[in-house]
């Protein structure tokens, strides 16, 4: 086999989450109330535009969640087959493989976006016209950035411009293909002609905000396509202190953000749903105990509790190095531990909410009707209470995502976030924050992190708003 699949724990959880999402989708499709709620989300233009963007982020994250160790190519030529196959220590993902040029073409240090030369002057030896070595201080030529231009660096602008134009053309083509496909789909679903379908897609109050999806897709393609075409030969967002491509880093950060934002809820949900429902349904001493538990936990300021827990986890990891086969596994486990800690410290809010709602629900007449039948408490909780709480859970889930992504950055900055070797928005900002003070200023790393993080969180916030508007029974009636 050319590679050895590596299954990291966070991969398992990510794919599990995807599975859960599919199951949820299937369940939603069966229940008419859920279906109408999701249809309302589908009608929301801001919601669908942001969902498109989130989907793109999710694809990046999922590609980055298929890990393997490549087989080391033995130098022995013919005899290689006899040797036991050896695999690299380095764990790569499918995304890494796709981004191989970005990952491997490391410069020495900082370089500006699309630069052909380094950012800082260096003493370089140039063979003068007389054949002697001359020492001058200049920006050295980059090893990979714009290397295809050879000596003719002045051609860069023209090259960039032509690539951008090509890319825009390609983007338009791709977009048109998608738009036609959508139209065809709508036409078939409606049993109408193309012209009507086209008009339907672009109508402002359609059943599904196709216009928003297509607009978001257009924006995405128009931005991503030039970047993709330029990235083959340039460092589109420059390189950082150790010469690593910044575009590669922001793309890798996406997965970290997704894991933090999603896996945490996986820890949080069972705790808050179970305890909240139990407290609200049984009341009495169960309620007292659970209330005590969450008041106590929530009375410790979040950052401090996380700091204490992360410190202790660090001690645990440091004193047991034998637990981890590779550095990636170690970083991965630390990431999961962080999710776990965030989950344990943040379930209290949702738990309190669900407890209150359960208290209200249990007084409703359909619950009493079930009790009059002698239906067991467990069954009442499962059939009557939890399904009627799910809208709160879904709203909390999407609302928490963006705040968790933001929290990761802060925690990593404070030093209690992800492993320093793991690429994340937090570590990127942390590494780059002093660069603004350099002369001349290094701005690209920070800007790229800002731009990607902002678009991810903004999309998540807008999507969360759309979901909340669609699922909140108090808001659901209003247009």
């Amino acid at each position: 086999m050319p590679f050895l699949p590596v299954i990291l724990w966070s991969d398992v959880l990510i794919w599990l989450l995807l599975l859960l999402a599919v199951v949820l989708g299937w369940l939603s499709a069966r229940n008419p109330l859920w279906r109408t709620a999701w249809r309302r989300v589908g009608r929301s233009r801001a919601g669908m535009a942001s969902a498109t963007l989130l989907l793109a982020f999710a694809v990046v994250g999922l590609l980055d969640s298929l890990h393997y160790r490549p087989r080391l190519v033995a130098d022995g030529g013919q005899g290689a087959s006899a040797q036991p196959t050896a695999y690299a220590v380095e764990v790569l993902s499918l995304l890494d493989a796709l981004l191989t040029p970005l990952r491997t073409r490391n410069e020495k240090t900082y370089s500006e976006p699309l630069a052909t030369r380094a950012h800082a002057r260096e003493t370089i030896e140039v063979r003068g016209s007389d054949g002697r070595l001359q020492q001058t201080r200049d920006h050295p030529r980059l090893r990979y950035g714009g290397a295809h231009l050879g000596a003719d660096e002045s051609r860069r602008d023209a090259d960039v411009a032509s690539r951008v134009l090509q890319a825009l053309g390609l983007a338009l083509l791709a977009w048109a293909a998608v738009a036609v496909a959508v139209c065809g789909g709508v036409a078939r679903a409606q049993g109408s002609g193309w012209r009507q379908a086209w008009r339907r897609v672009w109508r402002r109050d359609g059943d599904f905000a196709w216009n928003a999806v297509l607009a978001a897709l257009a924006a995405l393609l128009l931005l991503a396509m030039p970047v993709a075409l330029l990235a083959t030969d340039y460092h589109v967002f420059g390189t950082d202190k150790v010469g690593q491509d910044v575009l590669y880093q922001v793309l890798k950060s996406v997965r970290t953000a997704l894991v933090i934002g999603l896996v945490t809820t996986l820890v949080m949900l069972p705790l808050s749903v179970l305890l909240g429902v139990l407290a609200g349904y049984f009341r009495g001493w169960v309620d007292d105990l659970i209330q005590y538990l969450y008041t106590t936990l929530s009375s410790i300021p979040g950052v401090l509790l996380i700091a204490a827990a992360v410190l202790m986890m660090q001690v645990l990891i440091d004193t047991h190095p034998q637990w981890f086969a590779t550095a990636a596994e170690r970083a991965d486990l630390r990431l999961l531990a962080l999710c776990f800690i965030l989950g344990v410290t943040s379930w209290t809010g949702l738990c309190r909410l669900l407890r209150g709602e359960t208290l209200k629900l249990r007084e409703l007449e359909y619950i009493q009707a079930a009790q009059a039948f002698g239906v067991s408490s467990l069954r009442i909780i499962g059939r009557h209470i939890v399904p009627n709480l799910m809208h709160i859970v879904i709203i909390a889930l999407v609302m928490d995502f963006s705040s968790l992504v933001l929290a990761e950055a802060v925690l990593s900055y404070v030093g209690i976030g992800v492993d320093p070797t793991m690429i994340s928005f937090g570590t990127m900002i942390n590494n780059a924050r002093l660069e603004l003070a350099r002369e001349p200023m290094v701005w690209w790393s920070l800007s790229a992190a800002f731009f990607f993080m902002f678009s991810l969180v903004l999309a998540a916030n807008l999507f969360a708003d759309a979901v909340r508007d669609a699922f909140d029974p108090r808001l659901a009636g209003s247009p």
């Binding site: 109330l33 109050d205 007449e365």
Partner: protein, 684 residues
């Protein structure tokens, strides 16, 4: 359009072709469709209609207070010589509260909870009468006295939550009067109140109106309230006014088929034991208004023209006009259309059958916890020694005002609440305690139907699942093998029993209207083949026409299946219509108990008498004088010593203040707890 101003005085309000619509997405749904109204000073125009007919939207449109989605599309509202719809907002504000004031349905939420009564009143005085400081205080006090609030100086400094429901509505009225309006709009002012409080408020409103010569636009769904209050009546249906008449003409000969049906659907003694007339179908939804007469689809007399063309106004008498294509001949066959079954027959089967349910001295007390350690310092005696007996095929109505503990009795019988004392026996077996399996077996003999058809069905389950739940839990229909198939068949059967199609099983509750949901709730109860059904106000959330359908259904089911009903209600008309026996509750105890004709025709307890006299009757010949009940129901946490009713009773004696009266048996079936009727043993 030709209705002349009535004899009362100068014209106050003239509404012409008012259209109101609600924005829904990008479309506008018409809620009020071109109505005309005229109102003179000193006159009360009652706008009568069922829920969703647009009567509240009309009232709010007059004040331009429609919610954000509401739009006034067209029309003219002439008030004091000006068209209100064309006034700038700042001038309109002077009209609101100053020229025209409004009272809302829900006094509990319509007052600002964090401001004192005095401040809320002073606000209006400052706005419309430029009164401030001591003058405002004095005027506010006068207003509170005018609306009959006891202890008025203290109430000025109190917050709404410290007042009872009736007092809150009095404060609302005082606030409405504070700007000295010439027109008072009262939107269902007594719907949220108990019947004795309703009587107080209605009396207050008519007194104030007479004193101040105000015009009043009274919006209500209650024919009894209309009969008592109105000078003229306008009947609304689906956004249109379909009939307009002086009170006497309307109550003696309503012309529009809808109005006639409304009367026919009212339960009362005349149709006792028989079937009520119902209006089939439902009010058309805003988004799908029929082109012709809007009532055509539900009208028994509809003919071709009705479905094609909307009828024009037709004058049928002085001041009496109607929008209907039918001519007089058809329209006059009216109120006696209902089948009048033999009334004596049902009553004749006197309780000879053995008791199905026997409740003995049932008590339900809720602890009150106070202080640092939350110790129990007292008990709310929600139910305090209630004894009942009910035989198969009989209906016992448990009546009383809110807070008297009647619902608690029902829930305690069903074991939804733990009893603090006493016993409940069903089929001779003790409920509560004992083996779980035996208890479970007993459960299937009794079921409950709840008040709110929207809260009593789980929105996430299909109708089939809802109905099958009880069968599965109580293992009705044999052991597990092949139960699914039998269940499906059983669900279809029970749906058919309540008049719903079998395919309803696959649908979800939100697809059904209120009346249909109540049918589903009945089907759910019937599915386990109970002997006893506890009905907790099953029709109080429904419109009159739908209520009639449900009452008919309940009566039919009783006839077919021999069910016993414990019917918990505050509506005497319903009691009169279907109960065999009546028990009247006051503060957790039964004060009077007997056959329906005994209790309703010859009430003995002063409370029962007051209660009955307070019910507004939807006829002209109703006895107008009613027995005023001072004050409101005391808290069940601290019931008055002696007879609980003595603080509100005119006939109370020293004995009443000291001792709770023992039962006095007036006949074999009629028992009353009152010192006025000493038990025969002690009488002499």
């Amino acid at each position: 359009m030709s209705a002349p101003p009535s004899q009362h005085g100068e014209e106050l309000l003239a509404v012409r072709q008012l259209r109101v619509a609600f924005a829904h997405g990008r479309s506008l749904l018409p809620a009020v469709d071109g109505i005309d109204l005229r109102l003179a000073a000193g006159e009360t125009l009652a706008l009568l209609g069922e829920s969703g007919c647009g009567k509240s939207a009309t009232a709010l449109a007059l004040l331009r207070l429609l919610p954000a989605a509401g739009r006034i599309v067209a029309g003219e509202v002439c008030f004091g010589g000006r068209d209100l719809l064309r006034l700038p907002e700042s001038e309109m504000r002077a009209v609101r509260g100053g020229g025209m004031a409004m009272i809302f349905q829900e006094p509990a939420t319509s007052l600002n909870p964090v401001l004192t009564v005095g401040r809320q009143l002073a606000e209006v005085l400052a706005r419309h009468r430029a009164l401030g400081g001591a003058a405002a205080q004095a005027t506010a006090l006068e207003l509170l006295l005018a609306v009959g609030i006891a202890d008025a100086p203290r109430r000025l400094g109190e917050y709404p939550f410290q007042l009872s429901g009736g007092m809150k509505q009095r404060v609302m009225i005082a606030m409405a009067l504070a700007g000295e309006p010439r027109l008072l709009i009262a939107d269902e002012p007594t719907t949220a109140l108990d019947v004795t409080i309703q009587a107080q408020i209605l009396e207050l409103l008519s007194r104030l109106q007479a004193e101040r010569a105000m015009g009043m636009l009274l919006i209500t769904h209650d024919l009894g309230v209309v009969a008592q209050m109105a000078t003229r009546v306008g009947v609304m249906y689906a956004g249109e006014i379909v009939e307009e008449a002086p009170r006497a003409a309307f109550f003696s000969a309503p012309r529009h088929p809808y109005a006639q049906k409304l009367f026919a659907a009212l339960p009362d003694l005349a149709r006792r034991g028989g079937q009520l007339q119902t209006i089939p179908g439902q009010v058309p939804s805003l988004s799908a208004m029929p082109a012709g007469c809007r009532f055509a689809a539900r009208c028994g007399h509809a003919w071709e023209l009705c479905r094609q063309q909307s009828p024009q106004w037709r004058q049928v008498a002085i001041d009496h006009r109607v929008r209907c294509h039918l001519d007089d001949g058809v329209a006059s066959r009216g109120r006696d259309g209902g089948s009048t079954a033999a009334s004596g027959e049902a009553v004749a089967v006197v309780a000879a059958a053995p008791a199905l349910l026997a409740v003995d001295e049932l008590r339900v007390h809720f602890p009150i916890r106070r202080g640092i350690l939350q110790r129990t310092v007292g008990h709310v005696r929600a139910v305090d020694g209630v004894s009942l007996a009910l035989a198969r095929g009989r209906t016992l109505a448990l009546v009383g005002e809110s807070g008297c503990g009647k619902t608690t009795v029902g829930k305690a019988i069903l074991q939804l609440l733990p009893a603090s004392g006493g016993s409940v026996r069903l089929l001779g077996e003790q409920l509560g305690g004992g083996a779980r399996s035996a208890q479970r077996a007993l459960r299937r003999h009794m079921q409950m139907i709840f008040q709110d058809p929207f809260a009593s069905l789980n929105p996430r389950l299909s109708v089939g699942e809802i109905i099958a739940e009880g069968m599965r839990a109580l293992a009705v229909g044999g052991p597990a093998a092949g139960r699914r198939a039998t269940n499906t068949a059983a669900v279809a059967a029970v749906l058919q029993q309540v008049g719903l199609p079998a395919e309803a099983a696959g649908r979800y509750p939100h697809e059904f209207s209120g009346g249909q949901r109540q049918r589903i709730a009945i089907a759910r109860a019937l599915a386990v083949q109970p002997d006893l059904v506890i009905c907790d106000e099953p029709t109080s959330a429904l419109d009159v026409s739908v209520q009639a359908q449900i009452l008919n259904l309940l009566a039919t089911l009783q006839g077919e299946l021999g069910l016993a009903y414990l019917f918990i209600t505050h509506n005497f008309a319903v009691v009169d219509h279907l109960a065999h026996e009546v028990a009247v509750m006051y503060l957790g105890r039964i004060v009077e108990h007997g056959r329906v004709d005994e209790v309703l025709r010859a009430p003995r307890h002063p409370y029962t008498r007051a209660l009955l006299s307070a019910v507004p009757s939807p006829r002209l010949d109703a006895a107008s004088e009613y027995i005023r009940l001072p004050g409101e129901i005391p808290s069940p946490a601290a019931p008055p010593a002696g007879c609980h009713f003595h603080p509100r009773c005119r006939q109370a004696s020293e004995l009443c203040r000291q001792e709770y009266p023992p039962p006095s048996r007036l006949s074999a079936t009629h028992v009353v707890h009152c010192h006025l009727y000493p038990p025969p043993g002690e009488a002499d």
